[in-house]
Symmetry: C2
Subunit: 400 residues, 2 copies
Amino acid sequence: MTESDLGSDLGSDLGSDGAAVTAIAAQGVLTIDLGAIAANWRQLRDRARPAECAAVVKADAYGLGAARVVPALAAAGCQTFFVATFDEGVLARGALSRGAAADRAAEPVIYVLNGAPAGAEAEFARWRLRPVLNSLAEIDAWAAASRAAGHPLPAALHLDTGMSRLGLDAGEQRRLAAFPERVAAIGLTLLISHLACADEPDHPMNGEQRRRFTAAAAMLPACRRSFANSSGVFLGPAYHLQLVRPGAALYGIAPTAGAPNPMAGVVALHGRVLQVREIDTPRTVGYGASHRVDGPTRIATVSVGYADGFLRSLSNRGCGFIGGHTVPLVGRVSMDLTTFDVSAVPPERLTAGAAMELIGPNRPVDAVAEAAGTIGYEVLTSLGRRYHRVYRGEMKAVPC
Amino acid sequence: MTESDLGSDLGSDLGSDGAAVTAIAAQGVLTIDLGAIAANWRQLRDRARPAECAAVVKADAYGLGAARVVPALAAAGCQTFFVATFDEGVLARGALSRGAAADRAAEPVIYVLNGAPAGAEAEFARWRLRPVLNSLAEIDAWAAASRAAGHPLPAALHLDTGMSRLGLDAGEQRRLAAFPERVAAIGLTLLISHLACADEPDHPMNGEQRRRFTAAAAMLPACRRSFANSSGVFLGPAYHLQLVRPGAALYGIAPTAGAPNPMAGVVALHGRVLQVREIDTPRTVGYGASHRVDGPTRIATVSVGYADGFLRSLSNRGCGFIGGHTVPLVGRVSMDLTTFDVSAVPPERLTAGAAMELIGPNRPVDAVAEAAGTIGYEVLTSLGRRYHRVYRGEMKAVPC
């Protein structure tokens, strides 16, 4: 999407009813390209073949709206989804049952990465959610739920190989291997582990984790295995195993640090210029008077702030794009407003209501993240609730 | 609220129905004390007398839920509210019309700080929202809307005195003073300006802005004036004028840098311990292997991450509180998970499901913000959507 697609006024193509008022009065316009997400999934699927390509849609599909993203991925052919929590699983199940893929033969599979909290097992089964079991206690609770259900309930098992975060550690792996009947009591469908440094292809941790995963899995019953996140897909076939589970790359985040980004851009965020100010006497801008203007300067105040997830760490470091120019963010990001030095932009491009690109082709998510001192993932999951959200590129065709 | 209030399991007091499953499976429990917000408002009201005390409830009441906070403040006696956008104004108007204060003689006033976008004036009037007009063009558009309505529509006027962000600059202020009929065409109810450095009582900017505001207001028709945000209330009576408009202090954020915080704590956030891991061989924790464990260590993985607004900049810097101990956050904050070194905590306090305080009496909002390199405002407005939200202390009594 280009700047001109939005016209000079963010609400220009929205009619004149109440929705238009909301649109022009919103903090900004967030455009999410579902077609680009589907294209990214297909690219990853092709790269990972013959492994199955799943999709990670936790954290509301990285902030982009799981209710819209999950059906779009299912329509593209995705059969397996990963979420973090029970609530997210229920939402995904509902979205899938309403989607175009609802009538296909095999119901899509949903794994819940954070496992099933004690007492919630029956509800997991009711919503046909498969927990990723992270401990011996969770395995035993799931076995009890299986007995209560009268058949082994499907679940994945997480083997920790170096994140030290979730999953069975080496000691638990050995204990489990010594008592295989504990695994036999559940419907084990997948063994997973998680890479800590996959975005750095040369990091020794990658090979070390692979050795540990292979050794741990060899002690357990034969089962499909999954290792690769987005970056892991790009580590090569040795990391693909039977199922890859990309998340970030689906949403346009570069999978490999320092390398060109092969993924299509998915997100565009445009703020609205509320006011343009000509400053001709020395003056400070914003809270804490952290930016000083000494000569003639034009400052644009834009309708997006840190309460919209435009991170405060972008203060005096971020950029916008308007009228063909990259413009520096000056002063501190406020809760609802941000100021930019637009001295280089022709005044006729700076009318009240003009759209400034804050994320998009000229300001990729990863560049915004770098300016903010974080990663693209946090830029996406922080995207706020005050934007007017526009979804594009929904696939209408038959899955390919 | 103390740690023990939550019991050892976050879902323990929530019954056994579907809601309980959601509660125990949620990323964490966010407790918001509406009684503390009302008490903070009364404290500020008493400090600002005889000025009126308004309340800033923009950004969904700083992330705490305007639909609940606005009626609680109205019940405490607040008559004037400030929001940032049209949508927020409509939400506040709806919340007020449903609240206990709906039947009082004078309908509460709602100001929209970001002004009325061109074309939205009639909708503002329909919802009885008063824009804070930031430019001559906005004044003229509001005057046109007033003529269309057949009477002067009420609005505030924002005079910029040093933020260089929104409001009439010095040149516009002079032009307006030279043509008083432009103001006469609207129902001017309030003149506002905004302090840039009020949290630093000795900052020369405060006095400078006060001089500019006094001089600018003197050129315009006599009108009530408002200058003080939360920190401004604590700068003393010279800054109170006719109306103060605190936001942050209502929600428990310290109004004055470096001074003891006189406000009551409002927010408690508890994450759930998903897993506890004993590490006895050298090992790294989390993404990028950024934290190394060399000796025997106990690591707790907690169900909150940066997608929940637990900022990623807390990586290797934040803390939690559990079992009477402050415990360091180790490794990087993940999207849905965070790891803490809980070696100092007795193992019996670390069962799966145990509650860890991440914000609360032992981890005040401002301390969390300092560890994250930001301000308490951003900690609050970032609070995510995956928490189970519990509101306490709703006032049932008659306004005092």
